[in-house]
Amino acid sequence: MSQFVIVKNLTKKYGELTAVDNLSFDVDKNEIFGFLGPNGAGKSTTLSVLTTLSDLNKGDIEVGGYHIHKDKMKIKQLIGMVPQDIAVYENLSALENVKFFASLYGFRGKKLTGAAKEALEFVGLSDRLNMKPKQMSGGMKRRLNIACGIAHEPQLIVMDEPTVGVDAQSREHILNSIRTLRERGATVIYTSHYMNEVEEICDRIAIIDRGQMVACGTKAELVSLVTDVQSVYIETKLSVAFEGAEIKKKLKTLPNVKAVVTEENTVRIDISIEQNSITRILEQFLAFGMPIINIKTEVPNLDTMFLTLTGHELR
């Protein structure tokens, strides 16, 4: 499979802050490429440079065979952006919005109207052509946001959390749309805070943290990085939120503990698969005077992998 996007040693600084530090990755043509990282990891900055919204300080980006330094306009023509924020004009109808953005890519006349209607049909808004965004639900606005980014039939679609704040039905529609876009030949770079979405639709996933690449590969490849880890869920009677910080701190000092996450009545501990690991944890847990109601272990998944590799939860 040919590489459609090649990012080499990308560095982007904002003053003294290095938002992206020597980052390299590539995306194959016709691939859905997931981009994961905690808040402030550098995901949005990377996408911003890739989509020509910001200039890079160092490195090179190649999209569809064009280099960003030499052929920025040609790269712009290839890219469709679906931003995290809904970026539409409130006083224009759905059709007028999509037509306006497609017109910026050189579409005119019947071709423009046809492309706009097709994009709206694609996102399931063909019966809302004349509706203004202020009359739409959150999910419909999200779909219109997508239509505005894909009407000019881009070869590379960059989607930054396109499902934030939508209902389950709209989310399913959006995810199916992304799959269909891939089937039509587009390459998609997708970021999300929802791990299950990324697992569900992405062919490969890159994880970045502090502006650097932590891991990149298929879901199976990433999970294999943490096969020596298992998650232990301990449910207790008392709220661990009350003393959560203290409990986390003590549990983290135990040998073989990789990460600790506390929720209402449950503590999740990622530990190395070694003899006596669980026993030590249970002893320590009972030493806190907290009754154990239930214990559950899980094999590693993307969540485990993310937490282990970055030390943070995705959210």
């Binding site: 989509t51 712009k76 007028e96 910026l104």
Partner: protein
């Protein structure tokens, strides 16, 4: 190019707050201020009889003769009645009670005038103007007497009227004043439209979609500014037509002068839009918060809301005051010099603003 212009026009027409603020509001103000303040205008134009009690406290026969000549000359014209009083204290009291306009004491060498005025502002201005004129002539004659007394023999009093009355064929009312003033006001406030053109894109988050589009940024900036032109034309045209047709206001005396005024207002509006665009690219907060207070102060002290707020040395430097004077020159006196200068300055300012704005937009990075 037309897609951006059409988009900008549609957004303007469909935004109810814009329509109210930039079209309805000034039209309402023309009507309200024009009618409510019309009484003030009548009071000013009809000054009425000015009655002055005076006393002479000097032994200089030349000064006494000069004062008598001045008093008799003015009394003969009928507008001002001078009455020589024996009891000046009582005259001061009468002035305080507005029974007479003022009590005036001529005295001293060189001649000085003490004026005790009543409360009628317009009549007081008349008294001051007349007495200032007299004291200037008196000083001049005294100076000539000292330096070249024989020169006075060349001076002959003639019973001639040196003023020429121009018949304007129509009576100007306050509604005419506000018809012109409100178009200037709205042209001036178009700076908000310009700034909002870019701040609106930022608030809608659509500016990033514009930045990533494969378009020349300078061209895109100019298209957006040109997209404001139909709005500028529309708002000026609607206010002028409504004022004339509905409120029977007058602008210029001829079709040519009206078209010239329309052009003047359009040039000012477009200049303000261009300046607003720079502000919109530089500031990130709501333009109304930043620009409105400045505009209100300028308009308040620039005579937009009332002619009486004029502050000498301050008002005449307010851009809106200059624009208004240029427009009144064309509308009332048929003089084009000042308006030509305004058009030239606005055109140069617009070009500079467009260059600066295009530079800023061309170097604009992502908005988060």
């Amino acid at each position: 190019m037309f897609n951006i212009i059409i988009k900008e026009t549609k957004e303007f027409i469909r935004e109810k707050s814009y329509l109210f603020f930039f079209i309805m509001f000034p039209v309402i103000l023309v009507f309200l201020l024009g009618n409510l303040l019309d009484e003030t205008d009548i009071a000013e134009s009809t000054i009425g009889m000015v009655q002055i009690d005076y006393q002479i406290d000097t032994q200089d026969p030349f000064q006494i003769a000069a004062i008598d000549s001045f008093v008799n000359g003015n009394t003969e014209q009928g507008m001002i009645s001078f009455h020589k009083t024996e009891d000046f204290a009582q005259s001061i009291q009468l002035a305080g009670e507005d029974e007479i306009t003022a009590a005036v004491m001529f005295g001293g060498t060189p001649l000085q005038i003490q004026v005790y005025e009543g409360t009628d502002r317009v009549k007081n201005r008349t008294v001051e103007a007349v007495l200032n004129g007299f004291i200037q002539i008196n000083k001049t004659v005294s100076a000539v007497l000292k330096t070249s007394p024989e020169g006075l023999s060349e001076f002959k009093l003639e019973d001639a009227d040196y003023t020429v009355d121009k018949n304007l064929n129509e009576k100007r009312s306050m509604i005419d004043y506000y018809a012109v003033t409100m178009v200037v006001m709205i042209s001036f406030m178009s700076i908000l439209v310009g700034s909002n053109a870019f701040i609106g894109e930022r608030q809608n988050k659509t500016i990033n979609r514009l930045i990533i589009a494969p378009q020349n940024r300078v061209s895109m900036f100019l298209q957006k500014i040109c997209g404001m032109a139909p709005q500028a034309l529309l708002q000026v045209a609607i206010i002028m037509i409504t004022s004339v047709v509905v409120f029977k206001a007058s602008y210029g005396a001829t079709v040519e002068s009206n078209l010239y005024l329309f052009f003047l207002f359009f040039v000012i509006t477009f200049c303000m839009v261009s300046l607003g665009a720079i502000i919109g690219l530089l500031i990130k907060i709501n333009p109304f918060i930043v620009i409105m207070p400045v505009l209100w102060i300028m308009m308040f002290f620039g005579g937009t809301y009332s002619k009486e707020l004029d502050i000498k040395g301050f008002s005449e430097f307010m851009p809106n005051n200059i624009f208004q004077r240029a427009a009144f020159d064309v509308a009332i006196f048929g003089r084009y010099e000042m308006a030509n200068s305004v058009i030239l300055i606005c055109a140069v300012t617009t070009i500079v603003a467009l260059i600066v704005g295009a530079f800023l937009f061309n170097h604009k990075e992502e908005e988060r």
